[in-house]
Amino acid sequence: MEALLILLPISLLLGGTFLFLFIMNVKNGDFDDLSTPAKRMLFEDENINTNLNKKQGLEK
C-alpha cells in the first residue's frame, strides 16, 4: 500500500499536466474551428506553403 503514496501524486500530476495543456490549447484557439482544418488537409501539398504563410500572417 505504500506504493500509493508515490503513485497517487504521480497520477494526479500527470492528469493535471494534461488538463493544463488542454486549457492552454483551447486558449490558443486550436479548438475554435473544428471542421475547416480537417478539409484543408485534403489539398495537394503545394498548399502547405500557403498555409504556413497564413499562420505567420496571423501571428503578426
Partner: protein, 805 residues
C-alpha cells in the same frame, strides 16, 4: 392565347439554338439547352451562363485547375450558376468604410468578409488560393462552418479589388464590421465553455478512480483520505465548471420562475454540502462522484447543442446581408466624388445611371430614363422619367443617365417611413409558447415539492439521512434535461438542415409556426415573377438573328425595354457596334437609324397577349424580327404552388399590380381568383394578412415589408430589399420560391421529432422518479441514468439529421 408556360418558352429558345439536346455547365454542372462555348485547345467547353464562364477563365488563368478535380470528388454538392454582380465596390476604399470594417496594423490590413455561396471543399480551396490571384492578398483563411473569410492584405491594397475578385469568383462579399470586442467576447465565451467541460471531465475521471476502490470495499484511513481527495478534486467542478447552472437558476428565481437549472443547482449545492458534513462527522455518504458526473454529462449534452446550433449559416449572419450602396455626388465646383449612400446630405446633386438604386428621394434635374419601382410599389411595368420627375429611394434606374437633387434622406424618405413603421410594429410575441417549457416548469415544481415531502417524511421517522439521499436521487434523476433539450435540439437541427439548403432562419420558433399555418400569401412581382422585363421569345423571319443591329440601335436608347434587349443580346453573343447614320429616338415610338444604307426601325408591334410586350425590328418597313418581352414567372413557381396546394395549404396572391396582370398570373398558377388580391397598397397587405390567424407571407419589396412583419411567418426571397430582410423571419438565399416547400417539410418533421423526444423523456422521468422515491436507486445511479435520457434524445435527433442528408 394562353400565357406560355416554362415548357413552351424553353421549347422556343431551343428551337432557335443549335442542336445537341443538352450540355452540362463545366463550372456549375447545371444542365442547359443554351450553352455558351469557349475553345480550349480545339475542344469546346460548355457553360450555362457568362458568369460561370468568367469564373472558369479566372481559375484557368491562375493555373488553379485543381479546383475542378476537387469538385469532382464531392459529387453530392449542388452548386448554382454564378451571378455576376455589376457592382464595382469602389466605396469599399473610402475612409468611412475602412474605419468601420478594416483593421489596419503597421505591415498589413485585415478584413472579415461573409461569403454568400460557399458550399463545398472546392470553394474552400479556391478562397484560400486567392493570394495567387491578387498580389495584394497575403493570406486568406476561410472558416467553412460559418462562411466567414479573413483576408490579410498588404498595406494600400484596395479592398474594392478584393471584393471584385470575390464577386467574379461567384461569391457575393458581405464585409463584416470590425467589431473586435464583440467578436473576442463571443470566442472567449465558447472557449470558456470548452474549458469548463474539460475540467469537469478530468476531475470526474479521477474521482471515479477513487470511488471504484471505495465501492469495492475500501475501509479505514485510506478510505477517509480518498474521500478527502475526492472533495479537493471536486471543488473546481462545483465552483467553476458548474457556475452556468447557478447563474441561470439565480436569474430564473429573480424572475419568479422555475427553470431546469434550479433542481440541478439545488442537487449540486446540497449534495456538496452534505458530502462535506459527512466527511467532517465521519459518517454518511459522500456524493462527489455523482455530482461531478452530473455536471460533466450536462455540460456535454449542452455543448453538443451549442455545436449543432453553430453549424452552417447561423441566424446572426443575416446581419451581414445589409447592403450599402455608393453614389456619385457632383459638388458645386464640378468635382465628382463617390460617397456612401448613408452619408448623403440634402440638396446634394447626385448622378445616376443604369443599374443604380436610387439612394434618396428627390427630383430629376437633367436627363431621361426609366425606373423599376416594383420593390417599392409592386408595379411591374417600368415607369418613364424625365426632368422634374420625382424619384423615390428604393427604386432602380433601368435605363438612362440622369442627375437628381436630393430632397429627402434617411427616415423621411418614403422607404425610410416604411422602415420606421416596420420597426415600430412590436416584435411579435410568440403565441405558441413552447410546450416543453411549460411541462418542464410544472415538472420542476412537482419534483421540488416531492423532495421536500420525502425529507420531512423520513425526518419525522427519525431517518433524515435516508430522506436526504432519496430527495437528492429524485432531484438528479428527474432533472428534465432531456425534456429541455428535446425542443431546442430538434429546432437547431432543423435550422442547420435548412441553412445547408440556403434557407436562413432568424428565430427558431418560426418553424413551430410554419407547421401550424394553413394560408400562404405570395407577392407577385419579384417573388413569383422575376420582377424585370426579359426577352421570352426572339423570333426572326430569316437566318439572320440581327443581334448586332438591334444592339447598335438600342445602345444609345433610353426607353425601358432597351436595357432588357441589350442584356439578352450580351448573354448570347459579344455584340459588335456597327456604324450608323441618322440615329433617332422618338419617345413613345421607338428608335431608327440607317445601317449599311438600309433603314432599320425598332418599334411596338401589336400583341394579342396582355401579359407581354412585343416589339419588332423593321427592315425598310418590313418586320423581320419579333421580340416578345415579359415579366416571366420564376421557373419553379408553377410547380411550387401545385405542391403547396397538395401539402394542404391555401396559396393567395397579393400584389400591387393591376387586375389584369394579377388575374392572368393567378390563372397560370391555378390560384382561385377570389384568392388573388390586386392593386393592394402596403397597408392593405397588412390588413389582408392580419385577417388570417396563422399566415405565411412571402415577399421581396418595401411594399411587402410591413406584411412580412405582421404575418405569423415572413419569408423574404432572394433579391429582397434590406428592409424586407429586416422584417422577415426567414430569408431564401437561393432563387425562386421552391425552398418554401423545404421549409414546410422540415418544420413538420421537426415537430414530429420534438413530440417523439418529449414523450420519451416524460416516460423516462416518470419511471425514474418512481424508483427514486421508493429508494431503489442511489445518487450515483441517478447521475449516470439521468444524462442517458439526454443522450437518447440526442441520438434520436441525430438519426433524423443523418437520414435526410
Amino acid at each position: 392565347m394562353t400565357a406560355p408556360t416554362r415548357e413552351s418558352i424553353s421549347e422556343q429558345s431551343s428551337k432557335a439554338m443549335p442542336i445537341r439536346s443538352s450540355y452540362d455547365c463545366t463550372h456549375c454542372g447545371l444542365s442547359t439547352k443554351n450553352p455558351l462555348f469557349i475553345n480550349d485547345q480545339s475542344t469546346e467547353i460548355a457553360f450555362c451562363c457568362k458568369g460561370c464562364m468568367t469564373v472558369y477563365e479566372i481559375i484557368k488563368d491562375n493555373k488553379l485547375g485543381e479546383y475542378y478535380k476537387l469538385k469532382e470528388s464531392e459529387p453530392l454538392q449542388e452548386s448554382i450558376p454564378v451571378f455576376q454582380s455589376k457592382a464595382n465596390y469602389k466605396h469599399y476604399d473610402e475612409t468611412n468604410f475602412k474605419n468601420e470594417y478594416v483593421s489596419v496594423s503597421e505591415d498589413n490590413q485585415k478584413i472579415k468578409i461573409y461569403l454568400e455561396g460557399i458550399h463545398c471543399l472546392a470553394c474552400l480551396w479556391l478562397i484560400e488560393n486567392t493570394p495567387k490571384m491578387h498580389p495584394g492578398i497575403i493570406s486568406a483563411n476561410l472558416n467553412f462552418e460559418n462562411s466567414l473569410a479573413e483576408f490579410t492584405m498588404r498595406p494600400n491594397t484596395k479592398i474594392s479589388e478584393i471584393a471584385l475578385l470575390l464577386s467574379k469568383l461567384g461569391y457575393q462579399p458581405h464585409p463584416v464590421k470590425n467589431d473586435d470586442e464583440l467578436q473576442s467576447l463571443k470566442t472567449k465565451e465558447e472557449r470558456d465553455y470548452l474549458i469548463r467541460l474539460g475540467i469537469a471531465m478530468a476531475c470526474m475521471g479521477n474521482i471515479l478512480l477513487f470511488s471504484i476502490s471505495i465501492y469495492a470495499g475500501l475501509e479505514g484511513k485510506l478510505k477517509d483520505s480518498f474521500e478527502w481527495l475526492s472533495l479537493v478534486i471536486a471543488l473546481p467542478v462545483l465552483l467553476y465548471s458548474a457556475t452556468p447552472f447557478y447563474k441561470s437558476a439565480y436569474n430564473s428565481l429573480k424572475q419568479k420562475r422555475f427553470n431546469i437549472d434550479l433542481p440541478v443547482s439545488l442537487a449540486l449545492i446540497f449534495g456538496g454540502l452534505g458530502g462535506v458534513v459527512s466527511l467532517l462527522t465521519g459518517h454518511g455518504e459522500t456524493y462527489f462522484d455523482s455530482l461531478t458526473s452530473l455536471v460533466f454529462l450536462l455540460l456535454l449534452s449542452r455543448y453538443a447543442l451549442l455545436k449543432i446550433k453553430q453549424h452552417g449559416v447561423s441566424s446572426s449572419s443575416l446581419e451581414y446581408f445589409s447592403s450599402f450602396g455608393s453614389v456619385k455626388v457632383q459638388r458645386e465646383n464640378g468635382v465628382i466624388e463617390t460617397v456612401l449612400a448613408k452619408y448623403l446630405e440634402l440638396n446634394d446633386t447626385i448622378l445616376l445611371s443604369t443599374g443604380d438604386m436610387v439612394p434618396a428621394d428627390g427630383e430629376v434635374l437633367q436627363g431621361t430614363g426609366a425606373v423599376n419601382t416594383s420593390l417599392l410599389t409592386g408595379e411591374s411595368n417600368p415607369i418613364a422619367i424625365k426632368e422634374k420627375s420625382v424619384l423615390f429611394s428604393g427604386t432602380e434606374i433601368i435605363s438612362g443617365e440622369l442627375s437628381m437633387v436630393v430632397q429627402k434622406v434617411g427616415n423621411s424618405t418614403k422607404l425610410g417611413q416604411i422602415l420606421t413603421e416596420v420597426n415600430r410594429t412590436k416584435s411579435k410575441l410568440s403565441p405558441i409558447s413552447t410546450l416543453s417549457d411549460k411541462i418542464s416548469r410544472y415538472f420542476i415544481a412537482v419534483v421540488l415539492f416531492l423532495s421536500l415531502a420525502l425529507i420531512s417524511y423520513f425526518s419525522f421517522q427519525g431517518n433524515f439521512t435516508e430522506g436526504a439521499m432519496r430527495a437528492l436521487t429524485l432531484l438528479i434523476i428527474t432533472c428534465p434535461c432531456a425534456l429541455a433539450l428535446a425542443t431546442p435540439l430538434a429546432l437547431a437541427s432543423a435550422i442547420h438542415k435548412l441553412s445547408s439548403e440556403g434557407i436562413i432562419v432568424k428565430s427558431e420558433d418560426v418553424l413551430e409556426k410554419v407547421a401550424k399555418t394553413k394560408d400562404i400569401y405570395l407577392d407577385k412581382t419579384g417573388t413569383l415573377t422575376k420582377g424585370i422585363f426579359q426577352v421570352s421569345n426572339w423570333q426572326s423571319t430569316t437566318e439572320n438573328k440581327y443581334y448586332d443591329i438591334v444592339w447598335t440601335l438600342e445602345s444609345k436608347a433610353k426607353h425601358p425595354i432597351a436595357q432588357s434587349l441589350k442584356n439578352y443580346i450580351e448573354s448570347k453573343v459579344t455584340p459588335v457596334e456597327l456604324s450608323v447614320e441618322n440615329w433617332l429616338e422618338v419617345p413613345g415610338i421607338g428608335v431608327e437609324a440607317i445601317i449599311d444604307s438600309i433603314k432599320y426601325r425598332i418599334g411596338k408591334f401589336s400583341s394579342p397577349d396582355p401579359l407581354s410586350t412585343t416589339i419588332a425590328l423593321y427592315e425598310d418597313d418590313e418586320p423581320v424580327l419579333k421580340v416578345q418581352l415579359r415579366d416571366n414567372l420564376r421557373h419553379d413557381s408553377i410547380e411550387s404552388i401545385k405542391t403547396i396546394v397538395e401539402a394542404g395549404f391555401r396559396p393567395h396572391l397579393i400584389s400591387g399590380d393591376s387586375e389584369k396582370n394579377v388575374h392572368n398570373i393567378a390563372k397560370v398558377l391555378g390560384i382561385p381568383l377570389k384568392h388573388a388580391f390586386f392593386r393592394v397598397t402596403p397597408k392593405d397587405k397588412v390588413e389582408i394578412v392580419k385577417k388570417t390567424d396563422l399566415s405565411i407571407m412571402v415577399g421581396d419589396g418595401a411594399n411587402d415589408a410591413m406584411a412580412l412583419k405582421e404575418a405569423e411567418v415572413g419569408i423574404a426571397v432572394k433579391g429582397s430589399l434590406d428592409i424586407s430582410l429586416k422584417a422577415a423571419d426567414i430569408y431564401l438565399s437561393n432563387m425562386g420560391v421552391s425552398p418554401i416547400l423545404e421549409i414546410i417539410k422540415i418544420s413538420r418533421e421537426c415537430i414530429q421529432v420534438i413530440k417523439r423526444n418529449m414523450i420519451f423523456s416524460i416516460l423516462y422521468n416518470l419511471v425514474g422518479a418512481t424508483l427514486a422515491i421508493n429508494g431503489y436507486l442511489n445518487p450515483l445511479w441517478a447521475a449516470v441514468l439521468m444524462p442517458l435520457s439526454s443522450f437518447t434524445v440526442l441520438l434520436s435527433t441525430y438519426f433524423w439529421i443523418r437520414r435526410k442528408n
